[in-house]
Amino acid sequence: MRDNSAPLSFVDRAAKAAPEAVARRVRGLSDRAIAWLFISPTVLLLLAINIFPLAWTIRLSFTNYRANRPNARLLAVGIANYVSVLTDPDVWAAMQVTAHFLFWTILIQTLIGFGLAWLVDRRFRGHGFWTTVILIPMMLSPAVVGNFWTFLYQPQIGLWNYSLEFLTGVPASSFSMIGSVKLAPWAIIIVDTWMWTPYAMLICLAGLRSIPDYIYEAAEVDRASKWRQFWTITVPMALPFIMLAVLFRGIENFKMFDMVNLLTNGGPGSTTEVASITLKREAFEKWRTGYSSAFAIILFVTVFGLANIYVRALNRVKSR
C-alpha cells in the first residue's frame, strides 16, 4: 500500500502532471534518465557548437588543409604546423603586441575602475546618475566604438586632436593617433580603456559593497586612520573581486579583434597587429587552414593555461 504522506519523487510528480498515456511511459524511467532527457538537448547543442568544432580544429591542425582548395589532396603533416607557428617571427611579433596591449589595458582599467568604484561607493548626491553615465561606453557595440573613435582620431577633423591642440598647443594636424607607429598602440589602449573601465568598476564596486560596515566600525573604535583602513581592510577584502576583473578583462583582451580591426586594421604596418588579427589573416585571407588551426589551438591552450593558473591564485587569495 502506498504511503500518501511520503513526498512524491520527481518522476511521480512529472507522471501526475502529464496526460495518462505519457505518464505510463514516464513512470518507467528513473530520475537519472529523466534528468538526462532534459539536459540532452543542451548537451547535444554544446557538442555541436563547441566540442565538435574544437575537435575538428585539432584534427585540421595536423593536416595541410586549405579551405580554398577543397580539391587538393589532404595530407597529414604531423606537428609541422605547430612548429611553423612557434618559429614564425611574425607570430611572436603579434604576441608581443598582444602582451603590450594586455598589460597596459588591464593595469589602467583596474586602477581607474577601482578608483571610480571607490568614489561611487561614497554614495554622494546623484551617484546613481553618474554610475549610469559611466556605464554607457560599455553598453555600446565595439563596431560603433571603433568607427566613432576612428573619426575622433582624424588629424584634420577629429575632436581628439583638436582637444589636445587646445590643451597643449601642438597643432592638430601634426600628429595622427592611428597612423603613427608610436601612438597607434596607445590609441587602441585608450579606446579599450574608455569602453571597458566601467566593467572593471562594476566588479570592484561589488567587492567594495560586500565588505561589512561593522569591520570599518571596529577599525574606527581601534582609531585606525582612513589610510590604514583602506590598505588593511578595503584592498585585501576587495582583492578577490579585483582579481576577477583582471581575469575577465585579460581573457577578453587576449582575443581582442573587432575594435582593433576597425580602428587600425593592425597598422600602421604591423604595429597593432594583435594575435587574433594575425589569426584571421592566416585563416580567412591567406587560407592556411591547417596552420591557422594550429595557431588557434596554441592561443586556446595559452589562455586556458594562464586562466587556470590565475584561478588557483584567486582561490588562494579567497581562502585567506
Partner: protein, 440 residues
C-alpha cells in the same frame, strides 16, 4: 462519374498550363555579384535592357571594395549558390579556374560566335586567360581599368600659382610627365593655403587590410623596373622583385608618402582618395579610371583634369585594374547566366556600357575613331590600357598579396627597416608560398 473525373482532370490541366508560364517567368532570375562602386550602378542600368529582351530579372549583390575579396572568395570556396554571375578581380582567375569555381567558356564562345579577338589583347590576357598566354577562357572581359591620376585643373590654371611655380622650378605648371615632376608639383602644393584652406600635394594608396598599398606601390615600381620574376625562369624572383631599381622605386614611393600626403592618410584606398579630391584637400590623386566618369560629373569640368601614369627611370607602366565576368559553376541558373554573357558581348551593348559609365574592352568601342574624344579621359584610358601590368594571378594570389601588403606597409607607412629589407623579405615570403605550392 468517369465523365466528371475527366472534366476535373481537363480543368486541372488547363489551370496548370495557365499557371506554368507565369511560374517559369517568376523563377527566371539571375544574381550578379560585383563591387559596390560607380560602374556597378551603370551595369544596373544596362542590365534593364537584358531583362526587357529576355524577361529574366536581374538581382545584384554589390559589396564594398574593402570586403569584396573576403566576401566573394568565401562564397566561391564554400561553393555557394548566391552568385550566378561574378565580376571577380583579375587576380582571382588562377584560383577560380584551378579550383573549379568558374565555368570554362571556350566551348560556349565557339558555339555562339564570341571571339576573344574582338576584345583588346591586354584585357583578354588580364581578365580571361588561365594559364596566362593560353587560349583557356574563364571570363569575358567586362570592365577595363587601370590606375591613373586626376589633378585640380583650376588650381593649376591660377596665374599667381603658375607664376610662383615657374619661378621656383623654371618650367610651366602642367600635368607631370615623369614621377620626378609629379613629386615637385606635390611638394609645391603641400601645406599651401588655397582659398583659405590648407591643401596637400598628392593622394596615394596606403590601405593595409586588402590590396590598397600594393596597388599603389606596384603602380610606381613598374616604372623603376620592378619585375615579378625572371622572364626566362618562372618563379625565380631574386634580383627582380628586389633589384636595386625596385628598391629605388620603393624608396621613391615612401618619399612621396612622407613629403606630400595629407596627415592621417595611413590606411586609405579608393574612397578616401575620392573624398580627399572632392573636398579640395589634394592637388593630385592616384586612383582607378573607373571613378573618372562619376568624379567628372561631381567635381565639374572646370576643376578636374586627368593624366596617365607618369614615366619613371625605366619606363612608363600602369597597374591593371578591372575585371572579367564569369559564370559561377555552382549556379543553378547556368544557361541563363551564359545567355547574359552572350548578350553582354554584343558590340551594341558594349557601346551602351561605355556610354553609361562602364569601361568596355571591346574593339568595336575602343577602336571607334570618335572614342578618344568621347570623354576628357578616354584618350588617357586608351594610353593606360596599353601599358598595364598586373599582380600575380596565381591560385595563391591572396597569400602573395597579403605578404606584399605587410612588407610594403611596414616600410612605407610604419617606417620599419629599409626598402631593400622590405623587398628581400617579400622575396622570402613569396618563395615560401611557391615552395608550398610545389612550384619551386
Amino acid at each position: 462519374m468517369e465523365t466528371l473525373m475527366a472534366r476535373v482532370s481537363a480543368l486541372a490541366a488547363v489551370a496548370m498550363l495557365a499557371v506554368a508560364p507565369s511560374a517559369q517567368a517568376q523563377s527566371k532570375q539571375l544574381t550578379l555579384c560585383w563591387a559596390a562602386w560607380d560602374p556597378a550602378n551603370a551595369l544596373v542600368e544596362l542590365s534593364k535592357d537584358f531583362t526587357a529582351k529576355t524577361g529574366t530579372q536581374m538581382k545584384f549583390e554589390f559589396v564594398p571594395w574593402t570586403s569584396f575579396a573576403d566576401r566573394f572568395l568565401n562564397e566561391l570556396n564554400s561553393k555557394g549558390k548566391l552568385c550566378d554571375l561574378l565580376i571577380g578581380d583579375s587576380q582571382w582567375i588562377g584560383g577560380a579556374a584551378e579550383n573549379g569555381h568558374y565555368v570554362k567558356l571556350n566551348e560556349f564562345f565557339d558555339k555562339n560566335g564570341i571571339k576573344m579577338s574582338d576584345f583588346m589583347p591586354a584585357r583578354v590576357l588580364g581578365y580571361s586567360e588561365w594559364p596566362k598566354n593560353s587560349p583557356n577562357y574563364w571570363a569575358l572581359p567586362a570592365m577595363g581599368d587601370a590606375v591613373g591620376w586626376t589633378y585640380r585643373k583650376d588650381w593649376f590654371a591660377r596665374p599667381e600659382i603658375k607664376a610662383e611655380f615657374k619661378k621656383k622650378y623654371k618650367r610651366d605648371l602642367a600635368p607631370p610627365k615623369t614621377y620626378a615632376e609629379l613629386k615637385e608639383i606635390a611638394q609645391f602644393f603641400q601645406n599651401r593655403t588655397i582659398d583659405g584652406k590648407k591643401v596637400y600635394g598628392a593622394y596615394i594608396y596606403t590601405e593595409r587590410g586588402s590590396e590598397g598599398i600594393t596597388m599603389g606601390v606596384t603602380n610606381v615600381l613598374y616604372d623603376w623596373g620592378f619585375e615579378y620574376e625572371d622572364p626566362k625562369k618562372p618563379y625565380h624572383m631574386k634580383g627582380f622583385v628586389n633589384s636595386p631599381d625596385a628598391v629605388k622605386g620603393l624608396e621613391f614611393y615612401k618619399s612621396l608618402y612622407d613629403c606630400c600626403t595629407a596627415p592621417g592618410m595611413t590606411n586609405a584606398y579608393m574612397s578616401e582618395g575620392l573624398d580627399a579630391f572632392k573636398s579640395g584637400q589634394v592637388a593630385m590623386q592616384m586612383n582607378f579610371f573607373a571613378f573618372w566618369p562619376g568624379l567628372y560629373k561631381e567635381v565639374g569640368a572646370d576643376k578636374i583634369g586627368f593624366f596617365t601614369n607618369p614615366a619613371g627611370p625605366k619606363g612608363r607602366f600602369s597597374q591593371l585594374g578591372g575585371q572579367g565576368i564569369s559564370v559561377v559553376s555552382y549556379s543553378p541558373n547556368r544557361d541563363a547566366a551564359l545567355e547574359y554573357i552572350k548578350w553582354f558581348a554584343q558590340p551594341d551593348v558594349q557601346k551602351k556600357w561605355w556610354a553609361l559609365g562602364g569601361y568596355s574592352c571591346h574593339k568595336a568601342v575602343l577602336n571607334d575613331p570618335g572614342f578618344p574624344k568621347s570623354t576628357p579621359f578616354a584618350q588617357d584610358f586608351l594610353v593606360s590600357m596599353g601599358i598595364v601590368k598586373d599582380f600575380w594571378a596565381e591560385p595563391s594570389y591572396a597569400q602573395l598579396l597579403l605578404a606584399m601588403q605587410k612588407r610594403v606597409h611596414d616600410y612605407v607607412v610604419a617606417g620599419k627597416g629599409t626598402a631593400k629589407e622590405a623587398l628581400d623579405s617579400l622575396v622570402t615570403d613569396w618563395e615560401k608560398v611557391f615552395k608550398d605550392d610545389g612550384k619551386m
